[in-house]
């Protein structure tokens, strides 16, 4: 099949990419754009390691064709830190609260937590656990991930107040 040209804005930068219709978005991000932060874990839309933010929604990029993302605005884990390398509040919180061990699930966890806090800046513990229920972690038992998201929520809320 002929390749299609699609326009993507990824982490603020415009890209024009030629894709096959059957190319999954995760492969375009990782292999064409070199953004390997989003991971392929289960490749069956269970684990959430490939989670990215697309037009204000969390999406599992292993279960979406790149052509479906044409014209969209995407944020991946690479777009979270500042240009000068300053970690995003969520990244800092995951480090502070030991929200990761092996780190494989972390890009997906942080992207999902980012959208969760955008929608609900002060979630309860239960809301956090429901909110990240599409992301699997085999190391932490989730406890420190929940604490990290709570910590980030507190930091972001107090920044707004200050």
């Amino acid at each position: 099949m002929a390749k299609t040209l699609i326009q993507l804005t990824v982490n603020g930068e415009p890209h024009e990419v030629a894709v096959n219709p059957r190319d999954l978005l995760i492969h375009t991000l990782r292999e064409t754009l070199g953004l390997t932060g989003a991971h392929i874990g289960c490749d069956t839309s269970h684990c959430g390691a490939c989670t990215i933010d697309i037009d204000g929604q969390s999406s599992k990029s292993c279960t979406m064709f790149a052509v479906q993302a044409n014209g969209s605005n995407i944020t991946t884990i690479e777009g979270m830190a500042g240009a000068d390398g300053t970690l995003h509040v969520l990244q800092e919180a995951f480090r502070e609260m030991h929200g990761l061990q092996c780190g494989f699930c972390t890009p997906g966890m942080i992207m999902r937590a980012h959208r969760l806090l955008e929608e609900n800046p002060t979630p309860t513990e239960e809301e956090i656990r429901i909110g990240i229920s599409g992301n699997l972690c085999r190391c932490t038992g989730y406890q420190n991930i929940v604490k990290a998201i709570q910590h980030a929520s507190e930091t972001l809320t107090s920044n707004v107040e200050a």
Binding site: P21, H27, D43, S58, T63, M64, Q68
Partner: protein, 299 residues
């Protein structure tokens, strides 16, 4: 896992989409959220030559509430959950959508895809049977309507003809003050139901005024429990009437033995889901005597 090759078409209008599906025939498939179809394509269990993307069609994106409730096929589970207007008149929609898959999948997955795919594990079909919904089916030949209770023929086999799609769903607005419950037993977040039941009922004093019961993943189609209405309406919700409803439901279940449990276990759990859903619906219904009538439920 890489799906087979296909041509991706993005129609600008519903009519254009229907023409594309007519021209594509059996080689073409409609695409909404893709949360069932794309995994099937990755496993090469589906390999359409043409995908017709319906997500951008504004005609399929409405939620409108009057005497009846209309929901466009492309409305996502996330949008269903987020609609306060819908929650105020028919809260069981949100309750059910919240136990479908996980947050990421609910941003993409649509009600149209969920009901039209014919997967017996999907949760919306039984709810639509419970609410006595009508599906609006459109093709380039025209429009027709099929009741959710008549739509499902076998696993992945429905009343849909080649080139025909579900464009929307319509159901009567449930009576104000109705009780409702969707009870789903599952092994983990994102799993299909081991057994699930949808119940909507209304009470007049101690008597059941209306009642509707349907079941998910307990046969190769969703199941509407026709006898539940006869058993419950006009009676009081006693242990005997609830037991009779459970028996009527279990009598029509035909679950397969699988990783979720044996046929016997899943049937028994189906009965329990019916019982819990009736009890919770009754407690949520206005007109429920506080404590007295349902005191025995807690014993």
């Amino acid at each position: 896992m890489i799906p087979g090759d296909f041509e991706f078409k993005q129609p600008a209008s519903k009519d254009e989409a229907l023409s594309m599906l007519r021209d594509g025939g059996d080689d073409a498939r409609p695409l909404l959220g893709g949360q069932s179809l794309i995994p099937m394509m990755k496993l090469r269990m589906a390999s359409p030559d043409i995908l017709v993307d319906l997500r951008g069609l504004d005609d399929l994106r409405h939620i409108s509430i009057g005497k009846s409730i209309h929901i466009g096929a492309a409305v996502t589970q996330h949008e269903l959950i987020g609609s306060e207007e819908l929650f105020n008149v028919c809260p069981i929609i949100r309750e059910t959508a919240l136990v479908i898959a996980d947050p990421q999948i609910r941003y993409s997955g649509t009600i149209g895809g969920n009901v039209a795919n014919g997967d017996p594990g999907n949760d919306m079909p039984a709810l639509m049977q419970c609410l006595d919904a009508t599906y609006i089916l459109e093709s380039s030949e025209g429009i027709r309507e099929v009741k959710a209770r008549d739509f499902y023929e076998a696993a992945y086999f429905t009343a849909l003809q080649t080139g025909e799609i579900v464009t929307g769903i319509r159901f009567p607005k449930p009576e104000s003050g109705h009780g409702y419950s969707y009870q789903k037993l599952k092994r983990k977040v994102g799993d299909y139901a081991t057994a699930a039941a949808a119940v909507v009922l209304s009470l007049s004093g101690d008597n059941v005024k209306s009642a509707s019961v349907a079941l998910t993943n307990l046969a190769d189609t969703p199941l509407f429990v026709e006898k539940a209405e006869d058993i419950l309406v006009g009676s009081q919700l006693t242990l005997n009437t609830i037991r009779a409803t459970m028996d009527a439901a279990e009598a029509i279940m035909e679950p397969v033995s699988d990783g979720r449990g044996s046929r016997e276990y899943r049937t028994k759990m189906g009965g329990i889901m019916v019982k819990r859903a009736i009890e919770q619906a009754a407690m949520r219904a206005d007109g429920t005597a506080k404590g007295g009538l349902f005191g025995w439920l807690k014993r």
